[in-house]
Amino acid sequence: MMLSLLPQLLVSGISSGMLYALIALSMTVVYRATTVVNFGHGDMVAAGAYAVFVFGLGFGFPFLVAMALAIAVLFLAGFATQRFLMQPIVAGPHLSLAMMALAVGYTIRGALRLEWGTETLNPSRPYPQDIYMFGNVVITTDDVVICGFVLLLLAALFLLLQMTPLGKVIQATFQSQRGAALVGINVPMFHALMWGGGAALGAIGGVMLSMITPLTPDLGQWTLVQGFAAMTLGGFGSLGGAVAGGILLGITEKLLGFYANTVFIEITGYLVPILVLLLRPQGLFGRRAIVRV
């Protein structure tokens, strides 16, 4: 009986993991570009979900239009955060940057609580919720939509980064910002664009998340932990690692929760970084950093 549920747990783990992967990827984009871990990223994810709710239910836009607007708004928010809050202190200690990111996140959360703190919202899906049975494995439209959308997005990102001149510029700047500056690339603008891109990707994650879970201003809190754990597991700064880390985390959570104890579900996101940092600090796909002094 217990083993017969393994395929179901794997499928559900992959579905949750895809979401974690998207969030970890959006955090990694910012980290690769600026070497800053955005501790406010979870709240940007939540803000993305609320933005779709506002544009959709508040202004009456169709779902896809509302989603496009939300992504645009979050892109601008991420861009502005870097430009006006991070850039002025970029020469300061790394801790200041991390604290600024954290403060921005808490400000977003506070603003969301101010408006929606007393309610739990349940945005409706723009598609029917159907269930498909494959043997004894249940797959819902949510699983299909989330996995399909994230896979499409990953494919698009891969094509952008690997196949286009813009992607080459981004990769080159990831590699060496000093080199990029020397060949005339506006690195501060690049940083701001990557913050915008990271926030926009996070907004997509928030929208996907709001399909399967009630919307509360604290949605980002849990999200940040999972994104951070997936990033650590995959290897800091590795885009492919973030995706693999997210999926592995999703599966680990389900297996530990079911076969060991459900209390492990909450702490998996904390256990994983501890184990990875102790046993393989570079993560599964990251490279060992060698600093010459």
């Binding site: 549920l5 609580r113 007393t118 309610e119 349940n122 249940v138 399967i212 009630p214």
Partner: protein, 400 residues
């Protein structure tokens, strides 16, 4: 000389402290009674603030009738964010700066437990909506529960589930905090005491966005019913997963969730019909029959910001109001010159007092500071109608 000064200072401070403790009319003037209304006006638990606004609406209503014995109620709100440290600071401010007569509402059990020693020491009355039964059991001077604690609610959850013929295997799905244990521990006691069996205990923590492992564990355990001691977002997550995996159980939610809002989270209610229930505190359906009066009070006396942004006042508004109703009645009985002692005596004199809201009437005594016991259950009938049940299959007349 220094020793003499020190002795004088100590004696003076002790005198002041005694005087402060002894001032049993703090917060009362010739025309006003100052009430501290404490709750999570900010933070993740601010979904509970209707429990603060319910009593406030009633006080405004009473004030418009001229008050009680010439006194009108003046409320000082204090935000505890459902955080113990903030709660202690908020209570200190209410007691020592604002000098309130009493503190009420206070939906968060952790905060209520944290401030209880201060309340008892200072002799400040408390009447709240938090679920932890240890707040008012055993009876402490001035501390009252006019609403149901985890004991009544936990028993109601278990007894309703086990009222379904043949139901003996029960699973628990709960947060790991005091609040959830307040419900689930008492439900467990009832289940074990009535030849039932706990076949699975699963944790679903605050903020969880997925309940796959929990739903599958419940399914694998063969449970016939689930005691879901969860807040609203996580209860919705669990119900969605149980629906997804077609787990054939009845689910009893605790009072941390609003029934109507949970139902609204499911565009298709079919899975919830005769499956999802909650203990029900009221004598009629929300906003109907005797509760219509209170609906009108909420709508008239609360501001736009205090009312729900969408829809009608929900369960928590009504659940908060009995604290104000019994408080007002006790002041009425305490006469034109109330003190904390006379108010407490008046509270303890309430017997079979009908609040007009709750399923049970209020009965207090010197050793009994929880006023109500009997609860109903609410769920969707087979036809999908919100229905109040006295017991499994026994609908309250006029509520189908």
């Amino acid at each position: 000389m220094r020793i003499t000064q020190a002795i004088i200072a100590v004696v003076a401070m002790a005198g002041l402290a005694t005087a402060a403790r002894a001032d049993s009319t703090q917060g009362i003037t010739a025309s006003t009674i100052m009430i501290g209304n404490m709750g999570p006006f900010s933070g993740p638990q601010s979904t509970f603030t209707p429990l603060n606004y319910g009593p406030e609406a009633y006080f405004r209503y009473i004030n418009e009738q001229g008050g009680v014995n010439g006194h009108k109620f003046v409320t000082v709100f204090a935000d505890d964010s459902c955080n113990e440290a903030k709660g202690i600071a908020a209570a200190k401010k209410l007691i020592y700066e604002d000098k309130v007569f009493m503190i009420m509402a206070n939906p968060c059990s952790g905060v209520a437990m944290a401030i209880k020693p201060m309340l008892v020491q200072e002799g400040v009355p408390w009447i709240g909506a938090s679920a932890n039964p240890k707040i008012s059991r055993p009876a402490s001077p001035g501390i009252f529960h006019s609403t149901y604690t985890g004991i009544e609610s936990g028993r109601a959850m278990a007894s309703f589930a086990m009222g379904k013929p043949g139901t003996t295997k029960i699973a628990l799905a709960m947060h790991s905090d005091d609040w959830a244990h307040g419900y689930c521990d008492n439900a467990t006691d009832y289940i074990k005491g009535h030849n039932g069996e706990i076949v699975a205990t699963t944790a679903l923590e605050h903020g969880a966005t997925d309940g796959t492992a929990q739903a599958l564990q419940i399914k694998a355990s063969g449970a016939q019913a689930v005691m879901a001691c969860l807040y609203q977002p996580e209860l919705i997550v669990l119900l969605r997963e149980l629906q997804k995996y077609q787990v054939d159980v009845i689910v009893l939610g605790a009072l941390g969730a609003d029934f109507d809002q949970v139902i609204q989270a499911f565009p298709n209610h079919d899975y919830l019909k005769q499956r999802f229930f909650q203990p029900y505190q009221f004598k009629a359906k929300i906003g109907t029959g005797p509760l219509k009066k209170f609906h009108d009070i909420f709508v008239k006396y609360l501001t736009k910001d205090e009312l729900p942004k969408v829809g009608e006042p929900t369960n928590f508004y009504y659940f908060g109001v009995p604290a104000a109703i019994v408080t007002v009645e006790a002041f009425r009985r305490a006469g034109p010159n109330p003190t904390r002692e006379s108010w407490e005596k008046a509270m303890e004199s309430l017997k079979d007092f009908d609040t007009g809201v709750l399923a049970d009437s209020e009965t207090f005594g010197p050793d009994k500071h929880v006023g109500v016991e009997k609860m109903y259950a609410v769920g969707l009938s087979a036809q999908g109608q919100e229905t109040v049940y006295k017991a499994w299959g026994d609908a309250l007349p006029d509520t189908e």
